[in-house]
Amino acid sequence: MSLHPFAIELLQLSLLLGLAPAFAGWVKVLKCRVQGRTAAGILQPYRDIRRLFGKDIVLAENASWIFRFTPYLTFGVTVIAAGIIPLVSVDLPLSATADVIALVMLFGLIRFFTALAGMDIGTAFGGMGSSREMTIASLAEPAMLMAIFTVSLASNSTSLTQMVSVMAHAEFVIRPSLAFALAAFILIALAETGRIPVDNPATHLELTMIHEAMILEYSGRHLALIEWAGMMKLALFFALGISAFCPWGISPGGEIGTLALALVMLAVKLMVGALVMVLIETGLAKMRIFRLPEYLGSAFLLATLGMIAFFILE
């Protein structure tokens, strides 16, 4: 028995919408444990979101429609992206909507509007966050695309479903090009999702905020949408890494059995991935902002090495 592609699409979307907070909670719990603190539990993000949805909104006097529109756009684009990346099955009706380049640009659209919203109120914090975020993004994006292009060259495609199918069916050998690209991807994903050592999601100290500085003025349901979308984005970057670098287990069709296996595999991969991220975050300190070009430059170098290795060795 197999599920209709639309049913799988719906399943994937609701999974991601529903379980992204749990994943974010899992990351937080792990982080607390590793750092020897008591955790608030996996369900804390749900409680946070519910509380924020229940609250009234406080807007600055000169906030324009851009400020009010951005949370909805952020949420909308993230949901569409969630429908594109193959999580459990490659047979998704939405997956042909955008290839991996378009996906990166969709995240760029979110960043563009978030940065605009940061500048909308006219406080120094917002501008500072926007300026830093756009600087980091402009250095991170070339490295991001280079890492992904290495996989694209290996699979002769930029379409995610095709990349997954080709990579999942290739026999398992350690390919130096992919190893370099994966290393670069991890560095960049930390930057793109605003984790240590690039940004600190838990800080509200003016010298260290980047993403938080842009959304400092948000409240109520606006903030809830942004937070929720942020949790989905974190999960989606893991999903993107999984589909590009270790797609084994993703169901080729819609059979119930393979889907169930895919779900289990996904959960395991996400948990292990989160552990790796937490260890990196705990082991490293946040970098000074002007050290970041070196960090992102080395990511770019690794990605370039991956591409060169692909042409020379494979």
Binding site: M144, T158, S159, R221, F290
Partner: protein, 680 residues
Amino acid sequence: MAPPLDIAGFSVLLLLALALLAPLLRSVRTLQIPLAFSLGAAASLAAVIAGVITVADGSVASATLTLGIPGLPFHIRLDPLAGFFLVVIGLVGFFVSIYSIGYVKGYGGVRSITQMICFYSLFLAGMLLVVLADDAYFFLVAWELMAAASYFLVMYEDERAENRRAAFLYLLIAHVGAIAILLAFGVMAGQSGRGGFDGYTFDAMRTAHLSSGWAAAAFFLAFFGFAAKAGVIPLHVWLPEAHPVAPSNISALMSGVMIKTSIYGICRFAFDFIKEFPWWWGCVVLALGLISAVMGVLYALMQHDLKRLLAYHSVENIGIILIGLGLSMIFASFHLPTLAALALVAALYHTLNHAMFKGLLFMGAGAVLHATHERNMEEMGGLIHRLPWTAALFLIGCVSISALPPFNGFVSEWLTFQAFLLSPALPHPLLKLLIPLGAALLALTGALAAACFVKVYGVVFLGQWRGHQKPERIHEVGPSMLGGMLLTALTCFLLGIFPTWVIAWLDTIPKQLCGGRLAESAGKFGWMWLTPLSHERASYSGPVVFIGILAVVAVTWLLLHLRATRVGRVPIWDCGFAKLTPRMQYTASAFSMPIRRVLGFLFAVREQVEIVPQTNHPAMPGTLQYRLRIRDRFWNWLYEPQGDAAYWIARQVGKLQQGRIQIYLLYSFVTLIVLLVFLG
């Protein structure tokens, strides 16, 4: 329906007639502006119709005029490539003409409107004739008409020294370029094997068989000449000087379309005249494109003059177009027609897209200028509250130029990325390796452009007003200006949502120029899905992205508004300190500071911080002055030495002038003797 060539001819004649009749229209003072620019819009629309039909049919029509010089009558020809550029010129001409009805009114009583109308129509006519010309002589006449008309338009507000200087620089570089193009035509004609003036027709150049050395000489002379017009780095210095000082409707035309005529010229030379070329030509074009793209956007980021910033972005986008052209030439030289077609379509698509969004942005900058009388971004802010419609339309331009879906800039950059990733098909190992690295530079360009437009929009339209005049005195611009911008923004949107139709329409051009076709594979799954080569390789659907995002946003909004919540408006939170002032906001210079720190080695940056102590407490700082000066390095490296050399030679020659009649008589006598010696 009349044949397209006749429609195009009608369009040109209408514009020329308008230029002649402009002085007569002066008597109907109130109607002069609307009448003249409506006629300009009608002529532009005729050019669009002619171009659309020609490209769709893939038809070629030519005619010989009875004008011209003895032995070389003017030839005109309309093929799909020319038709495409007619559409680009005509569309922007149409939108800008509508916009101008409102914009030019601002000059009423201050400046000669007749002069503006006259040169405006000559400028449009010149651009149309450049793409229609079918012999070297007529081409150069049209080219010079375009250059001269735009020179006078740049000089329009000639009481300011900077405008005169910019116009002079523009004219100088335009002519250096024109000489190179003339020489290129000379090489082609000399090698075409036909005697007399016959060699100067484009027909003769198409059939000429050039040796590889002469072909390279002709192409690179022409490329140099066209690059000077397009503002390719390092020949770009005139562009950020001349485009900003022209009236904004003219800036839109110059940045949106005039520089595109050189893309036309390069396509004509490479794909139509020479056809067979070695791969390294494409590499040169690609390398210069990459340099222009990256340096152009970096220089743009450093600007705080709105129009100057936009002008630097034209350098960037010409770079992106050249990247596509260069890739296309590389693929064509290895006889990979489909891949060459993909890269060529990407380049042409970006040409059209850039014309639209840059036209829109310059018109928006003109509206801001019109409303605030200010070009310096550091004196603006919060205009979204004063100019709501302009702000919304300008935002569409910003999103488009930042290559973000679902707008048009994204589609052409995406196609260029796809072309980059096809490099493994090349038989040359080094190219295979190096070309994908170019894709990283293109990604860098796109990301920096997004950063730059966050800065532009954030500083100009968001936040609070920073200027000296009262913001209450700023009012939204009139309906014709908004109408022109609205139509352009709509085109940006449609070009982003329906790329398959555009590619299907464009298909005759790559078919004719490089023998490959794209439409069949690109539209295989219907108009909703763009699949450039195959659906397994890559796919994108503008409509689904747009409708999907819209649907999720709408549903979320409705769900969250089921329950009434209170939206409170409060003053900005100032952390409990003294009241925040608009001066405390991030400025344009502050916004780009991290990038200036990281990539500053590419510019000549000079920062000075001076702390003036208080008079009564010398230990306490009173005021702090920050001076920032950023110069184009190319100016110091390339242009200043040349200028110095010219002055030095002039001074040396000047020594001959003694001002005494005896010395001059001696010169004449010596010259006579020397001549006699030589003749004898």
